[in-house]
């Protein structure tokens, strides 16, 4: 399959400035509360812990006192050429034609986990446990509330970061209600809305980051901050695993060369650290 270019040129993407990220976890917490992600009693098994935004701590492999570490927040890359979309047998995931978000339809997923195997970023997580008893626990124990805009999942299905797609829907609804219709008799449908203003649609993680390390918007729109950041910090920008050809839409910025070198594999590279 070739790279899928969204129609109308809108390409939602993210720029994460690793020079600013402190690893506080606010993005991940915001994501979890926004998207009704439950908490198990024991979440130390990271191979089954569901976090759509995952924080990796990566070190430069040097001995004390030259050790440096960086925190890399990793949402779903919403790849331009996703490895996961073509492999789903039940068409439970697609690449949106407008905007380019890789959608995950959890009510259609049969849980075969082929997409989980295909994704090199481990962005996809599977519900190994049944969430429903946990949601009950969630509300009771955490005196918490569930976000009514995001569907809760069931056992045995795959879930992943959706670039807060429900917020895009809300932004479109907002544009719809704010748009003055010249002729009331003319039908005006919400599906006609494609672009939304930058401030109307921001992901929960970008909104929550106290260091403003996460920027979200339309990569192709020169008026959006993500586009400008990539231009300004061109030398520091990189993506994860570019060599594979997945065309990720999440860019990272780092002024440190050793961090940029962590993004990919380089044959016989001296900078390679032990995995």
């Amino acid at each position: 399959m070739s790279v899928i270019h969204p129609t109308n040129g809108i390409m939602y993407g993210m720029v994460i400035d690793l020079d600013k990220c402190t690893g506080c976890g606010a993005c991940s917490v915001a994501c979890m509360t926004e998207n009704n992600i439950y908490v198990l009693k024991d979440e130390s098994d990271k191979t089954r812990s569901i976090t759509w935004m995952r924080l990796y701590q990566v070190e430069n492999g040097k001995a004390f006192p030259e050790t440096e570490s960086v925190i890399i927040p990793r949402p779903c890359m919403q790849c331009g050429q996703p490895a996961c979309v073509p492999v789903c047998p039940a068409t439970a995931t697609t690449k949106d034609e407008i905007g380019g978000i890789v959608s995950q339809i959890t009510v259609r997923c049969i849980g075969c986990r082929y997409c989980v195997a295909a994704c090199p970023y481990h962005a996809r997580t599977f519900n190994w446990f049944d969430p429903w008893p946990l949601y009950k626990n969630h509300v009771e124990q955490m005196a918490g509330a569930l976000n009514p805009d995001v569907p809760p999942r069931m056992r045995g299905v795959v879930e992943k970061c959706s670039f807060c797609h429900h917020r895009l829907m809300a932004a479109k609804a907002r544009v719809y209600t704010e748009t003055e219709v010249k002729n009331p008799r003319e039908k005006y449908h919400m599906s006609e809305i494609q672009a939304v203003p930058e401030e109307y649609y921001q992901t929960a993680c970008a909104e929550a980051c106290p260091a403003e390390a996460i920027t979200f918007g339309d990569l192709n729109n020169p008026g959006h901050r993500v586009h400008q950041l990539l231009k300004e910090r061109k030398a520091d920008a990189f993506r994860l695993l570019e060599k594979l050809g997945t065309e990720p839409r999440v860019y990272y910025l780092s002024s440190r060369r050793w961090v940029r070198k962590q993004a990919d594999n380089y044959l016989n590279s001296p900078e390679k650290t032990v995995g």
Binding site: H122, W128, L241, L244, A263, G275
Partner: protein, 411 residues
């Protein structure tokens, strides 16, 4: 004393009913154990397994791939008999079909337990994604299972008692007349699903261990899986036949039939190993290098070492290929059995490597290498497949005319 003497085929010796009942116990035990595992998985969810987000596929998928490859003897023997016209294979075709039926029906049940939402399994057919190899696999396997059932039915209807019913006799006889159609359909379907199972891994372009060069929509693993299946399938059929001969202490299959299968399997195996070695080299300098990974990056000390490669291609590949191509070795039961064991083990190892090692190898440089050991629930269900096979073969061997040449060979 045979209480069920009227059900046993005419002119053959079978053990007493009591003995037979006792021999069924271990198979039933395994099935019972598997049932417990299955109920736990259905009731509590897939956290009962040792799989996780890194090991999305585990023991069951390895087992599925292995049994489907080993069950390839059914379609290939049918192809050789009904399409190519190798009449001597009539001696072994029934056994091959039964093995195929066992393998494919077990695979379908195991897949149903493996998916997170078994009740939604039909979505693959209703919301099929034409781009996915797994869609092709599901369609083909389901249809082929129906073909196998159709091929198994005449054998069942030829049971002494059932055959006395005129309609059954008529039906079975006529089905035999048109069996070549089903053999052709079965061959066609099998080529595609054997290939697609390999295709499933070759298309994962973001997983450098599995990714392969593409020919249009087909990765090289598509062809390799077909080749290895048609080499290993007949070998597995031969192994089961030899096993039954040893246990029953009688000849069951004509020597010509065995030699035909062994000879063809040997040639296919040699061709497969040749292409597999070329493919491995092409992969090292192609997808692997393009992803920035060297051969050493894919192997670790211990159970995931480079010795896996040498074992699969050398001891379990080149060696049995040589043995099967030496007529004297083929005709010797011991060497033939050894060669068949090595071949089938090699193909099972290949399936294991394509599933487990693919997932164990991290792609992101800062990701960890994760190990995986199946839980007892996974073992229970996998071993139940063996119990199921043992049960079906035991019942078929006793009550159905599986071996048309048995009477003549033991006269």
């Amino acid at each position: 004393m045979n209480l069920d003497a009227k059900l046993i085929p005419d002119g053959v010796q079978r053990t007493s009913t009591l003995n037979f009942g006792l021999t069924l116990l271990p198979w039933l035990g395994l099935l019972g154990f598997g049932l417990i595992g299955a109920l736990l998985c259905f009731g509590l969810g897939l956290n009962q397994t040792a799989m996780n987000d890194y090991f999305a596929f585990g023991l069951w998928i390895v087992f599925d791939l292995a049994v489907i490859a080993l069950g390839a003897g059914a379609f290939f023997t049918g192809f050789l008999l009904y399409i190519i016209g190798r009449k001597e294979l009539k001696s072994i075709i029934n056994l091959a079909v039964i093995i195929g039926f066992i393998c494919y029906s077990a695979a379908v049940v195991m897949l149903l337990i493996d998916i997170g939402q078994p009740l939604r399994g039909w979505f693959i057919f209703w919301h099929a994604n034409v781009h996915s190899m797994l869609t092709e696999v599901s369609f083909c396997i389901t249809v082929y299972l129906m073909v196998l059932i159709i091929e198994y039915i005449p054998i069942i209807l030829e049971n002494r008692k059932l055959n006395q019913v005129r309609e059954f006799h008529f039906f079975a006889h006529n089905l035999h007349e048109v069996m070549f159609i089903f053999a052709a359909v079965g061959t066609f379907l099998s080529f595609f699903h054997q290939g697609s199972l390999g295709g499933m891994f070759g298309v994962m372009f973001a997983r450098p261990f599995a990714a392969r060069p593409m020919f249009f929509i087909w990765p090289t693993t598509f062809a390799l899986f077909i080749m290895s299946a048609i080499a290993a399938g007949p070998c597995f059929t031969l192994l089961i036949a030899t096993l039954l001969e040893k246990i029953g202490r009688k000849k069951l299959v004509r020597a010509e039939a065995k030699q035909t299968l062994a000879n063809i399997a040997g040639k296919l195996l040699a061709v497969y190993i040749f292409f597999k070695i070329i493919d491995t080299i092409a992969w090292i300098y192609g997808p692997a290098q393009n992803a920035g990974l060297a051969l050493g990056d894919f192997y670790r000390d211990g159970p995931y070492g480079q010795w896996l490669l040498f074992l699969e291609l050398g001891l379990m590949g080149i060696l049995p290929a040589i043995l099967l191509n030496i007529p004297a070795a083929r005709r010797n039961t011991l060497w033939l059995t050894l060669a068949c064991l090595l071949t089938t083990s090699g193909i099972v190892l290949n399936r294991f490597v394509m599933v487990v090692v693919t997932l164990a190898i991290p792609v992101l440089p800062f990701e960890q290498f994760i190990g995986y050991l199946p839980s007892w629930q996974e073992w229970a269900i996998s071993l139940a497949v063996i119990g199921y096979g043992g049960l079906i073969i035991s019942l078929s061997y006793r009550y159905l005319p599986v071996f048309p040449d048995e009477k003549a060979l033991n006269a």
